[in-house]
Amino acid sequence: MSDQFVIETNDLVKSYGPHIALDSLSLKVKAGATGLLGPNGAGKSTMIKTLLGLIGVTSGEGKVLGFNIRTEGENIRSKIGYLPEYDCLNPGLDAIHQVAYSGELIGMNPTSAMQRAHEVLEYVGLRDQRYRKIETFSTGMVQATKLACSIIHDPELLITDEPSNGLDSRAREFMLKTLQQIVGEGGRSLLMASHLMDDVEKVCDRIVMLHKGRLIAQGRIEDLKSIDQEIEIHVWGHASELERELQNSGYEVRRTGRVMRVVRQDESTYAAIIESAAKSGAQLRRMNDHEPSLEDLFLVIMERLGYSVKSSAELFHFGPSSSKVDAPSELKEVGR
C-alpha cells in the first residue's frame, strides 16, 4: 500500500452474520477534503467504525495514516479527530472543561489540554460562551463544541459525521467555513459524511460514494461531474412530442415538466435539438450548457444502478426500507 493516501483499503469486507455491511471496499483517499456519501444503510457508519479501528474486519486490509486498521486502532485514534453525528457531550459540564477532558482522554496533560481548549473554543466561535454549561447551548453551539473536542489535539485527519445537521443557515455557513479553513489553512485532511450534497460540494474536492456496502464512485468531484455533459432546454408547448423526437433521434433525455436535459454527444447536439423542436412544434425558450451539481452526479449514478430517484433527499430521508430495494440484476455489476 502506498503512503500518499490518508485512507487506503483493499477488498475490505465486514459482515454481520449473513448481512454484508462492507462489500469488497477498495478505497483510496488522498490528503485534502473528501465527502462520504451514501443513502441510509449504505455502510457509512460501519466504514467509519472500521477506519477508527473499533471493529474487526471480516477480510481484506486497510490503512489509515499509514496505520493498520486491524492492529493499530489506538494509534489511528490518537491521530484522528472524530465529530459524531449524535449528541456526545455531558450537558452538566461547561464547554471549556468538556473540551479539555476530551483532550485528556487522548493523552494531553491537563494543563496543555486546558490551554488548547481555550484556543479551539475561540477558534470555533465560542470564546465568550466557554464557561457556560452545555445544556444551555443551541444546536449550533453544541455542534461547535463537538468540533472543538475533535480538533483539540490538532489531528492529521478529521472525520465528521453530518457536521451541519440541524444547524440554521448562519451556523451551517460558519461550520462549513471552519471545516474549509481546517483543510485549507491548517493543512489537515477531512472525511466528511453528509447527506447534504451542497455542503459536500462546498467543502470537499473529492467524494467517496457508497451504496449497500459497495463503492460506487470515488474521485475528484469535477472529474466525476464531467462524465455526463448535458444541455438544458426550457420548452413551451409540445414538450412530450419534443422528448419523443429527441429520444427517437438517439438522445438521452431527462425531463421535469417543461425543463429537459439532453445528454450532449458532440457539437451537433445543439442543431439536433433545434431541428427536433421545429419538427415537434415546440418553442425553445432557453438553451444552455448545464453545469452539473453533485446532486446531478448522484442521480445519474443511482439511475445507472437501476433506481428511480428524483432527488437525493428521497433516498437520504427515507427510512432503512429504502435501501432494501434491490437494483435490477443486470445492473448490479455497474457499481463494481
Binding site: N75, R77, L105, R116, D154
Partner: protein, 353 residues
C-alpha cells in the same frame, strides 16, 4: 381608507432614513423579517477628520478565525486512564469534572459522618473515662465487623444508598448523553474504560467503608492511649475487617455497574441496586422467619458478604449454612455482574447510541 387618503400620508423618517415611507410592508419586514434586522442599523463610527471610508467603518467585528496548530506530545495509556479516574473522583469535590448532584454530595457527607459515629462515641467515652461505654463502642471483633458489615444503619440506609447514587449513572449516562462516542473515538480500549469507571466508584466506596474503619481503629487507639501490645493483638482483626469491607465494596461496585450498563438513565440502576440488596435481604429474612431455613440468604449479596466477613473476622456466625457456600455464591454473583458489565460495555456504540 380610500386611495386619496392613502396618497396624503406624509413622508416620515424610518430607521433613520429621512424620506423613507412608513409602509405596512416595511413595518412587517422590520417586525417579522427573515433577515437579521441589522442591514440598516449597524452602528457606524464617525471618525473626526477621517476619510469617507473611515466614516463608514462598521463597529463590532473583532473575531478573527485562524487555525492554530498544536505541537505537543501525547502521554501514554496511564495518563488517559488517570484522566478518567480523576474526572469521576474529583467531580465529588470540585467543579470542572463529572457533575454530581448536590443531593449526592450531601448524602455522601452525611454517610461519612454516620460511619464515624462509633468513633464519636468512643471519643465521648474517652473524655468522660466511661469504661462501660468504651466496652460497647471501643475496638473489638464485633465492633470492627459491625463498622463494615453491620446491617443497621450502615448496610441498610448508608452504603447501599451511596452506592446507588454514585454508580447509578456512571455508565448509563454515557449511553444517555452519547458521551461513549467521546471515549471510544479516543485511543482508549473498553477494558480501560470499564476498569477506570469501576475503580473510581470503588475508591469512593472504599474511602467511605474501609477508610472510616481505619480512622475509627486509629482514632480509638490514640484516644484510649493503647499500647503496642493492644495494636499487635487487634491489627489482624482490623485487617480481616478491612478485607471484608473490600469484598463489600467490590460486590456493590460490580452489581451497581452491571445495572448501570444495561440502562440509559440513573433511576433504574439506582432503584434496582437497592431492590437487589434490600429486597433479597427482606425475602431471605421472611423465609428464615417462617421456615427457619437460611439458605435463601445465598441469593442476598449483602448476606453473602456478611457471612464471609463473620468467618474472616471470627465473630459468631448468624447463618445456619456453611460460610463457604456464601463465598461461592459471592463469586457467582460477581462473575455474573462482571459478565453483564463486560458484554454491555462492548456493545456501546461510537457512531450512534
Amino acid at each position: 381608507m380610500n386611495d386619496e387618503e392613502s396618497q396624503n400620508i406624509p413622508d416620515a423618517e424610518f430607521l433613520g432614513q429621512a424620506g423613507a415611507k412608513v409602509e405596512g410592508r416595511t413595518r412587517l419586514e422590520a417586525a417579522y423579517g427573515s433577515s437579521d434586522g441589522d442591514e440598516q442599523t449597524i452602528p457606524s463610527a464617525s471618525v473626526a477628520g477621517g476619510t469617507k471610508q473611515h466614516e463608514q467603518a462598521h463597529l463590532g467585528t473583532v473575531f478573527d478565525q485562524s487555525y492554530q496548530p498544536w505541537g505537543g506530545s501525547l502521554n501514554p495509556r496511564w495518563a488517559r486512564n488517570w484522566a478518567i479516574l480523576r474526572h469521576h473522583v474529583y467531580g465529588l469535590f470540585s467543579k470542572g469534572h463529572r457533575p454530581y448532584g448536590m443531593a449526592t454530595k450531601l448524602i455522601l457527607f452525611a454517610a461519612f459522618l454516620i460511619s464515624l459515629g462509633d468513633l464519636g462515641m468512643s471519643f465521648i467515652s474517652a473524655i468522660f473515662s466511661e469504661t462501660e461505654m468504651h466496652r460497647v463502642f471501643g475496638i473489638s471483633k464485633d465492633n470492627l465487623y459491625g463498622h463494615v458489615l453491620g446491617f443497621w444503619p450502615r448496610n441498610a440506609i448508608c452504603f447501599p444508598i451511596i452506592a446507588a447514587l454514585l454508580i447509578g449513572g456512571i455508565i448509563s449516562e454515557d449511553r444517555m448523553h452519547g458521551t461513549s462516542a467521546i471515549y471510544f473515538s479516543r485511543p482508549l480500549n473498553r477494558i480501560d474504560y470499564t476498569a477506570m469507571k469501576f475503580l473510581s466508584v470503588a475508591i469512593v466506596l472504599f474511602m467511605l467503608i474501609v477508610g472510616t474503619l481505619g480512622i475509627y481503629y486509629t482514632g480509638d487507639i490514640l484516644m484510649q492511649g493503647e499500647g503496642w501490645a493492644f495494636f499487635l493483638d487487634t491489627f489482624p482483626i482490623f485487617l480481616a475487617a478491612a478485607l471484608a469491607g473490600t469484598i463489600l465494596v467490590f460486590t456493590y461496585s460490580s452489581i451497581g455497574l452491571a445495572l448501570s450498563s444495561v440502562s440509559r438513565g440513573k433511576f433504574f440502576p439506582a432503584v434496582a441496586l437497592l431492590g437487589i440488596f434490600l429486597g433479597m435481604k427482606l425475602i431471605a429474612f421472611l423465609i428464615y422467619t417462617l421456615f427457619e431455613r437460611s439458605v435463601l440468604y445465598l441469593l442476598s449479596p449483602y448476606d453473602c458478604v456478611a457471612h464471609v466477613g463473620q468467618a474472616l473476622v471470627g465473630t459468631t456466625s448468624t447463618y445456619d449454612h456453611p460460610w463457604t457456600w456464601s463465598l461461592m455464591s459471592l463469586v457467582v454473583i460477581n462473575a455474573i455482574a462482571l459478565y453483564i458489565l463486560a458484554s454491555r460495555v462492548s456493545s456501546m456504540e461510537v457512531t450512534r447510541e
